[in-house]
């Protein structure tokens, strides 16, 4: 079993134009920075990207938008990105807005081998247009399909060479369920370790879901909204 690849370029080398890819992260938190940079370098285009957000103008998926590599975004929130807005209004980019919990659970369903879910989110709104509605115990639910992605690209805190992953703090977000949902799952990690170094009791993503893993580098971890309070006076 050898899941370890040298770097992001090798990890994504068979992602071709037109692919459907999932990218983990919430805002700029927990995004696979190395693989995004590699996809920009590879110049693949016509991509369908499933990701909660679309980055900002000069970071995250925003870098791929700048190079016009994205045909369609499937997201819950796409603010904070002027180039995104320009491409959307000009018709170059297609967007499908999905309620955030629905997005997460459609990923989860794929990883759990379930074809669809029923959720109340969006009942009675335009999100329900064209979707099957089922009533359970007096409440309406929309049927939403599991995602079908060629590749899932996730970012973890630590991983071992067998593909077991651990995430840190709110950088976990969409990464675990996307890791489970890809036909091919690529994980970039801040720290790649040998089997046995991670406590099996604290693995978030079992290695069976991960096909390729590599030690990431040069993480910028940009902060979107830096909010602080004044430090207490030192005695």
């Amino acid at each position: 079993m050898n899941k370890v690849v040298a770097n992001a370029d090798e990890a994504i080398k068979d992602i071709e134009s037109g692919a459907v890819i999932m990218l983990g992260g919430f805002g700029l938190c927990g995004i696979p920075e190395n693989c995004i940079t590699a996809l920009v370098r590879k110049k693949v285009d016509n991509l369908t990207c499933i990701s909660n957000n679309a980055g900002v103008d000069d970071f995250g998926i925003g870098l791929m938008l700048q190079q016009k590599q994205v045909k369609k975004m499937i997201s819950s929130y796409v603010g904070e990105n002027a180039e995104f807005e320009r491409q959307l209004l000009s018709g170059e980019l297609e967007v499908e807005l999905v309620p955030q919990g629905t997005l997460a659970t459609r990923c989860m369903a794929a990883g759990y081998g379930m074809p669809a879910i029923f959720t109340p989110a969006g009942v009675g709104t335009e999100v329900a247009n064209g979707k099957e509605v089922r009533n359970f115990n007096g409440k309406d639910y929309l049927m939403e399909y599991a995602f079908d992605a060629d590749f899932a690209i996730v970012k973890a805190w630590k991983g071992d060479t067998m593909g077991n992953l651990m995430y840190k703090d709110t950088a976990r977000n969409f990464n675990p369920m996307m890791a489970m949902a890809g036909k091919i799952t690529i994980a970039e990690v801040e720290e790649l370790v040998q089997p046995g170094e991670l406590d099996p009791n604290f693995i978030h993503t079992p290695g069976i879901y991960v096909h390729r893993i590599f030690q990431g580098k040069d993480y910028e971890k940009r902060i979107e909204q830096r909010t602080t309070r004044k430090s207490p006076p030192t005695p």
Binding site: F26, G27, L28, C29, G30, N52, S75, S76, Y77, V78, G79, E85, L88, L89, L97, P99, Q100, G101, T102, L103, A104, T105, C107, M108, T119, P120, A121, G122, V123, G124, T125, E126, V127, W157, Y167, K168, D169, T170, A171, R172, N173, F174, N175, P176, M177, H204, K221, R222, I223, E224, Q225, R226, T227, T228, R229, K230, S231, P232
Partner: protein
């Protein structure tokens, strides 16, 4: 005087009960955390995967891996827990979160809410709002009573695209507190110095005034 944003948050904070798990939306709802009554312990949920959200970090202690749903750097309190987005919305969908507070552009007299999209303007997305309003056991809306043009935001029917239907239980606006009832909006409190006549004039939806309506008191 109509309430300012801080006072709206302060009034909503009085709805918190000890032991509540609470999701606070972006804007005025976030301010509610500053007015949690003494002796009331609540746990704040951030839908990007955190229970036990704490205040902003001290300067220099920001951590890019610790953010809230508004992408602001935050801290976690002792006893907090971290989970993924599916579980986060799982606990919301399963009704485990006791109270959701969020902003709105419009609310209708039957409790429909519109807060995510204005036709003709760039749509940013609904984020987690549709999931929250579809499943929350108790939803309080924090908002201005009228829009910048002076038009009522408490309507017979929403005119904007809906976020959810028949879900809002209570509204705290700058003019008062309103329950959403089978008979429409019911004013149960009014802001200091605001008259019932003003509230009637600025409420387009069906409105009743509670028999025991009273003026809000602020310390």
């Amino acid at each position: 005087m109509p309430l300012n944003k801080e006072q709206i948050a302060q009034r909503i904070a009085r709805e918190l009960q000890d032991g509540f798990y609470v999701n606070l939306g972006i804007g005025i709802p976030t301010l509610v955390a500053n007015y949690i009554p003494e002796g009331v312990n609540v746990v704040l949920q951030s839908e990007n995967g955190l229970l036990g959200m704490g205040p902003f970090p001290f300067e220099g202690e920001e951590d890019a891996d610790m953010i809230n749903a508004g992408k602001q750097t935050i801290t976690k309190l002792p006893g907090s827990s971290i989970f993924d987005s599916a579980m986060s919305f799982g606990m919301i969908r399963a009704g485990k979160v006791n109270l959701t507070v969020l902003g709105a552009m419009e609310v209708s007299e039957n409790g429909d809410i519109a807060n995510w999209k204005i036709p003709g303007k760039m749509v940013k997305g609904m984020g987690g709002a549709m999931d929250l309003v579809a499943s929350a056991r108790n939803i309080i809306v924090a908002m201005q009573h009228t829009n910048p043009k002076g038009e009522s935001k408490l309507l017979p029917n929403c005119t904007l695209p809906l976020t959810g239907v028949k879900c809002v239980k209570k509204i705290v606006s700058d003019l008062g507190v309103f329950d959403v009832t089978p008979d429409g909006f019911r004013c149960i409190e009014y802001a200091p110095g605001v008259t019932i006549e003003e509230i009637k004039a600025k409420t387009a939806g069906r409105l009743t005034i509670a028999d025991d309506v009273k003026e809000m008191i602020f310390n």
